[in-house]
Subunit: 323 residues, 2 copies
């Protein structure tokens, strides 16, 4: 895993992924007490940064592998990224989703061209189904984060941050990144270590699901007690990855934890001041930048917004926090 | 008014205005029955394209004029654009706003650095107050649309559309533009006539406020019967401008009219599929592209979203249209 892989991924995604802009608002600067630059990956295709990693992985396959197709386990943003990337390459995709996944997510993933196979969380052995697909059908598994080609794709966010921030006069900053398994965070950290060495990445997680913060503190991988029951579902994973964790250890500062209420408030402020739609899990980085200013030093924070796939009732609940 | 003025404005705004991305969604393509590219100026600084025209006009002033300051009549997006552009140039700005303008708009305009002077719509003579400011204080009036430097700034949207669409393989398309006084529409039309001559601009307006569509049909400027009572307030003006109308006549196709319900539905679809916040008036162009496919020929429509300054209750009302 190195910077050359990220630069190669950047070449492969050019013209396919959205080069998301860097947004600012004097009102958000006021709240944070310093300059805040926002990298809104909610504007990415399929509504999250996951499209970058999926495209990076699928576009690296040779024709024989593309002919056999790809598969992924996911009930969320990774599913849509893999489905769309595979379809654009003329490759079949199979997505294994729990049968109790929201109907809209199942429908969206199918609409993007995937064959969706559902399994019963209680009765079925998900990994056994995956084994069958891999060995009998010869399809390539695209892991959601613990896969160098995927990390390389997510790292292209970091290359863009370095370029866009420099063009805005910012070369020294803390970069707050929404962190689940660590694919996005580790990719950005590697890219910035090469292209913007005066920036430091801080992983941000929701309260109660702070496996990365605890793992960094302990110096060894720690697990979450549970992986459900959070409105920040998009960034909840059991534990940091075996590939991602050593990168986080060597390149990132301490983890930061925010509350669900912080996320809702941040979604509302972003609605009002940036005119973007953020999902709760995608808001943790910006929440940290705005609402916990004492955690940072220096003149600028760059907040990465990871995604915007949120349903209308939950978004309306966030808007209700605007008095 | 010519393309060279637009190219000069593009140089002045570079690095100051957001180069908004071009967004797409296969779900929106499905609704429209053809490819739709969306240019989201709701992501522009101050939440609308108006910042471009304001920056273009303010940045063209010499130091003596900047020292005296600028003023504008506006209760909305133009006010915020002028205030922010002036402040960034170290110039004073005075914005004349009706005393019954929403408190949040008054507060936002002040927060961006403007001196806000309110007048009573019933009792005060707005133009007389403007005269006083222009003659006694020597401040420069920045007109909202009927001003070549402002049109040149808005035209930079067209230059970007030509470049971004070509990079996506689209050189022939209809371009639907939200149209009030015609500054944005005429600027884009001039830019595309030079840089993408196979694209045709169609102005789009809300039902009951279709002065541009009627003026184009009549071959002479027609007025709206009223200028209030629409949720599309951001793009309601009494009539097309003296500078803008001849440009619309020589460069645009027929006007298109959509309903307020179309706007609310479009805002909801854009929330779900593009993760952007659109104000009702900013939605008319995308509404036409998605909901009136029979009005267009060809494989692609490019929809310009003009702004995203909408309050939470109205946005929640739009979200409620998602079943």
């Amino acid at each position: 895993m190195n910077i050359d892989m990220i630069r190669a991924a950047a070449k492969r995604i050019e013209g396919h992924a959205v080069r998301t802009p860097m947004l600012t608002s004097p009102f958000i600067d006021d709240i944070a007490g310093r300059r805040v630059l926002i990298k809104p990956e909610c504007l990415q295709k399929t509504g999250s940064f996951k499209f970058r990693g999926a495209w990076s992985a699928v576009s690296a396959l040779d024709q024989a592998a593309l002919d056999k197709g790809v598969f992924a386990f996911s009930s969320g943003n990774h599913a849509q990224g893999v489905a769309m990337a595979a379809t654009a390459h003329g490759a079949k995709s199979v997505i294994l989703m729990p049968s109790d996944a929201p109907a809209v997510k199942l429908a969206n993933t199918k609409a993007l061209g995937a064959d969706v196979i559902t399994y019963d969380r209680e009765k079925d052995d998900r990994d056994a189904i995956g084994e069958e697909i891999a060995h009998e059908r010869g399809m390539t598994l695209i892991r959601p984060f613990d896969e160098p080609l995927v990390i390389a794709g997510q790292g292209t966010v970091g290359l863009e941050i370095a370029q866009q921030a420099a063009a805005m006069g910012v070369t020294k900053a803390t970069v707050t990144v929404c962190c689940g398994g660590g694919g996005l965070t580790s990719g950005i950290a590697l890219a910035l270590a090469a292209d913007a060495p005066d920036m430091q990445v801080r992983p941000v997680e929701p309260e109660g699901f702070d496996d990365v913060a605890r793992s960094l503190r302990a110096g060894a991988i720690q697990r979450n007690n549970r992986t459900d029951g959070s409105i920040c579902d998009a960034i909840i994973t059991p534990q940091p990855g075996k590939v991602t964790f050593p990168i986080l250890q060597s390149h990132c500062g301490d983890g930061i934890v925010v509350t669900e209420d912080d996320c809702l408030r941040t979604m509302a402020i972003a609605f009002e001041r940036l005119r973007i739609v953020i999902e709760p899990g995608g808001a943790v980085g910006l929440a940290a930048a705005m609402l916990y200013p004492d955690l940072f030093e220096g003149d600028a924070v760059i907040a990465v917004v990871s995604g915007g796939n949120v349903d209308a009732p939950l978004f309306s609940r966030a808007l209700a926090t605007l008095q």
